[in-house]
Amino acid sequence: MNKLQTAAEAIASIKSGMTIGIGGWGPRRKPMALVRELMRSDVTDLTVVAYGGADVGMLCAAGKVRKVVFAFVSLDFMPLEPGFRVARQSGAIEVLEIDEGMMLQGLRAASWRIPFIPTNVGLGTDVVARNPELKVIDSPYDEKEWVAMPALNMDVALIHATRCDERGVCEVASPDVYMDDLFARAAKHTIVSCDEVVATEHFADPAVARSVFWERCHTQSVVHIPGGAHPSSSDPLYGFDVKHFKAYGEAVGAGEFDAYLDVHVRGKTEDEYQAAVGGLGTIQALPLPAY
């Protein structure tokens, strides 16, 4: 089975009103080229589930989002994500604000096809007090109460991997897969962009096979976009683009996100986007961050 598609073909599976999950974490390994394709589409009214960075901020700023399920939206070195901040402070979006670990539990429940996972996380906090959709239940085994973290079922997941074959075997060579495998399993339909497409024989090396975290039956679409995580990182291939994130932040801060879209997204191909940010060579030369 050949799952290779263009970004436009892949993104056409996303319809208004859907719930989409986005892999990665903050400024790291986000499927940003797929996010740009989504911003080019006429899709609206999305519910977005993510360990959020500029993926969430840009989709909010582009008016694509009805609701965000989040524990944070942050670019780390820029703690406050500009697009998300504006959307929240203008009351433009609904939210379900949960703990980082609760998101893991919700993805796990969806991937296991169970309705919830009991947890003590969230008890005593506004996560539970202010979100009526999170239920607190009694346990059949003890006298305590527990949060029933609901399954985060999703229509589509967007993920960026290091390398894929055309059958949908995906290698994440970065030091952390984050929760990407759970996003792939929790969604009905998973689209994976990747920096490199490889022959299936690439995975014969056991060390490489150990860098594959979900089976290919959970990948429906593979999109080959070298540099496709930019401006986020794709460790070990390239780091995130501090300068670009700052320029995006300044554009949002000045109320000029529309101009950002005109230069980088609307009516532009991914090749034109990459040319505008210095070319693929420049992206691939971005240094990995050191903490």
Binding site: L80, R88, D99, M102, G124, V136, K144, E145, Y178, Y291
Partner: protein, 268 residues
């Protein structure tokens, strides 16, 4: 430890005071969020508690802490265990962790907020980070707070605008829990060290930094504080501790963390 140093910065005093929360923690993951808390945890691991575990702020546990400044690459660091973010949750839900974090708001119950300020839940006046891992941390393991600027904006009069971590609030206590199940440990500020061992877990002044008065602390706190018997002065760093701090922070990034980098001893 060797004798008290004759000269040290407030940041160094706070790092040494903060490192003490890890002294008797045993073999747990020490997480310091922000440069000074991370330096504090690294100092403890390098001196008083070598059993501590620490990450590279990314994906690995290290057998020896990385420097907090001057890191150009993670290549060659002293990895000992893979600990990606999901494994951090496995670790922290086991309780084998102590985190030191810097909340935007802390209330009299020890509840804390990094999520948002003012407005409503649907439309905050100022969106901050989100609750991040605060709910899970606070119900799973010991937590301490690091406050670079002690003020009534941080130590708020009422409850936090968004309660992100559980504290000693009887009205929010879940069924089957007692206040003794909650473990909010130590608060390090630029004025003093506090804990929650006052009557009924009231926040309590434990020591004042050299040159700081009890009244100054009270004036900058939005609620009543208890005071420890025989209130003393926060111990000065030793020369040995300062040397290890300098090794862990070769570029002196600690000098840029507090406004104007004040001296640790502010006695006239």
């Amino acid at each position: 430890m060797s004798e008290a140093a004759s000269s040290y910065s407030l940041a160094e005093l706070m790092v040494v005071a903060a490192s003490r929360v890890f002294d008797n923690e045993g073999e747990v993951l020490a997480t310091g969020i922000g440069l000074l808390p991370r330096l504090a945890a690294s100092l403890a691991m390098s001196t008083t508690n070598p059993d501590l575990m620490m990450t590279d702020s990314q994906s690995y546990l290290l057998s020896k802490p990385n420097p907090v400044s001057g890191m150009k690459s993670h290549a060659g660091q002293a990895n000992e265990t893979w600990l990606g973010f999901r494994a951090v949750f496995d670790n922290l839900w086991s309780g084998k962790r102590h985190a030191m974090v810097g909340p935007s708001q802390i209330d009299r119950f020890g509840q804390a907020n990094i999520s948002a300020l003012g407005g409503t839940y649907q439309q905050p006046k100022v969106q901050l980070l989100g609750v991040r891992g605060f709910p899970g941390n606070s119900i799973s393991h010991g937590n301490s707070f690091f406050v670079p600027k002690h003020s009534t904006r941080v130590f708020v009069e009422g409850e936090c605008d968004v309660v992100g971590s559980i504290g000693y609030n009887p009205d929010r206590l879940p069924k089957g829990y007692s206040l003794d199940d909650i473990d909010v440990r130590t608060v390090i500020t630029d004025l003093c060290v506090m804990d929650f061992n006052g009557p009924n877990h009231q926040m309590r002044i434990v020591s004042l930094h050299p040159g700081v008065t009890e009244q100054e602390v009270r004036d900058n706190t939005g609620f009543e504080l208890a005071v420890i018997d025989n209130l003393g002065v926060t111990p000065a760093p030793s020369d040995e501790q300062l040397a290890i701090i300098a090794e862990l922070d070769p570029l002196d990034a600690r000098a840029k963390q507090l406004k104007d980098n004040p001296p640790g001893d502010r006695r006239g």
